[in-house]
Symmetry: C2
Subunit: 420 residues, 2 copies
Amino acid sequence: MISNLPETNEMIGELTRLLDELAAFSDGAEPGVTRLLYTPAWSKAQRFLADKMAEAGLETRFDAVGNLYGRLPGTNPDAGVVLTGSHIDTVRSAGKYDGAYGIVAGLAAVAFLKKMHGSPRRTLEVVSFCEEEGSRFPLAYWGSGNATGVYDWRKDGDRADEEGVPLREAMQDCGFGRDDLAECRRTDLAAFVELHIEQGMVLERMEKRIGVVETIVGQRRYAITLEGAANHAGTTPMTMRQDAAAGAAECIVRLEALASQWGEPLVATVGKIEAQPNTPNVIAGTVDFSLDIRHADEWRLNAFSELALSEIERIAVRRRLKHRITPWLSTKPVPMNPSLTRATERICQQLILPYRRMVSGAGHDAQLLAAVCPTAMIFVPSKAGISHSPHEFTEPRMLADGVSVLASMLYELAYEEQRI
Amino acid sequence: MISNLPETNEMIGELTRLLDELAAFSDGAEPGVTRLLYTPAWSKAQRFLADKMAEAGLETRFDAVGNLYGRLPGTNPDAGVVLTGSHIDTVRSAGKYDGAYGIVAGLAAVAFLKKMHGSPRRTLEVVSFCEEEGSRFPLAYWGSGNATGVYDWRKDGDRADEEGVPLREAMQDCGFGRDDLAECRRTDLAAFVELHIEQGMVLERMEKRIGVVETIVGQRRYAITLEGAANHAGTTPMTMRQDAAAGAAECIVRLEALASQWGEPLVATVGKIEAQPNTPNVIAGTVDFSLDIRHADEWRLNAFSELALSEIERIAVRRRLKHRITPWLSTKPVPMNPSLTRATERICQQLILPYRRMVSGAGHDAQLLAAVCPTAMIFVPSKAGISHSPHEFTEPRMLADGVSVLASMLYELAYEEQRI
């Protein structure tokens, strides 16, 4: 167990200053932070972070896709690397915490450990992954994906952004995508710990300070089309209608009721609806809507998804609507490492921080790292659950809580070389 | 009662040829017929019709807004004018029957009556109203509105089309909007009879050949906004959501059920839905939707509208959604003249044409004329109820049925000078 922790007020000042400085690296006139992969704002942010890492006495390097690492070498080079960090890219008009907080907090924790405890036994590294959000190119987890072998930048750079620029070209224009840079694929990791804002309101509502993630949920996403007949709203009696909007509405109400009945951690969402011709005085002939289903348990995720689709089908058939269901995303739930999860809990107890075991309903770099090393994920509260918005906010003292838990974990893993 | 009727095959040829010729006056590359007010296609169609009217021996004139009249003078000039016709303008990508059929049929009926029976006692006129659809400028019934005093072109031409061209300017560029043209306002009408396609599927489903319109329904239209919270679809448990899409869906399902329960002729339609941010993985924060309610009875129209709005309010409050309801259109039901309606029925019986008394769920020029003279409205079937579409279709023999009924009515009104 760590014997001392960073002084809170000092750490708060350092974290908020660094988050503000990072937030200034943003594209254009949009509100909030917009830092898309391989844009000038992104480049400047990564170079800025490399400088900060170097100032803290870490050895810095970029790998071939632009992931930035800051390294504090351990005395036992065979013991593997303990890695912490998150992603530097953002969605459009983002807040300043999503991703950035995990990097800044990792840097603060490692800098503190170096200053107070010198060299660790296991090597410690802080990573700023180049991309996680999927905001510019039609793929996500480009950073952690290349680090874990899910992607290979030598083969997978063909997809283009909205302006038709291929990922490979953008990467090379930014100075990456070259064989002389460090290899992306990590095979030397002993553990990965990611600290992130919750992006939900559970911790706030439950008055907890730390979320200990047990599992990152699996997801199923579907595009659903109901097709009826676009008739005149005035001349078509209720009994002669094939109203795609009413059909979609019945599906949405039914899906919500089923999901509520199944209970946590299942969530099902229809966030996107498009009606055709979308005119007040014409019955909707076609409605497209999305369905997003998430659960921490794969069997239940599958079972609910099948039930949901069969209900949609039943409603469509009863209403004489044609239906088309296209699955377009399917990920499995990813459990975090149980012994790291227990260690996180214990540390929260020692620090007297109210915590809650929970699932992560959002995807994170941790779910890719979990395939290659023991992985833990720690949440701090998000005010009102708001994220992907300039209104994203976490109180500075809660940011500091996260760093305390992270520093304790990294100490145990790297300095005490605890077995995982 | 009329002693003879146009020979069906001959009339079918004449009607379909004239409808095809009119359909050729259409703007641009879009499928179907697009003939917006005061466009070149519109001008050419009106001039073409004026020529056809003149060929049939009618005296033609344009009034100040471009309504075209073809006149067969009566021997009793004090007895008022019996008018028939419909509108020449179309929606974008329309069919060739809506509006055009009423003009072409009127011309065919009057030409036949002139040929077979010479001069009528009451003057007969065929009108091609310049505008009814509201497709170019943000107002409708510009033609019949100026004829009945609802609009005054000297004052009401300020509204602009999508390209910013004011109605008055478009009218003047087309050669209208001048004081030296015929006065628009009609104060000399003895009766108006409008023949139109049903634009619904009731006649077809009921296997009737003629619809005898008792009432043109009144309408209420509302723009409704539900506002919740646009949270993350993964991290927001079902119990913590304020989902505007689920709220709107519940409203739509409830409105449909209520409308079905009230029964004909009530119809209620949600044709337009817009969700924000409209993204699969974000709970909808705001949903705007339209509500269109129609009924032939004003008291019931009001009662249902109030019930519908109170249900929306109840659903919004229970779901902790803010709601905003903006009424933007309100028209009263317009009954057709009962003695003309009975006369239409009698004529259908005499001609052995299966008919049905019904309401018109769509608005028509007849509802404006009804304020200034006894007015009747006659429907012929629309295949599959399709209208405002290039697929609009009515079988030629059914088009001819309509002309037979119309010619019989005009004969009784103008030649027999029947009391209305």
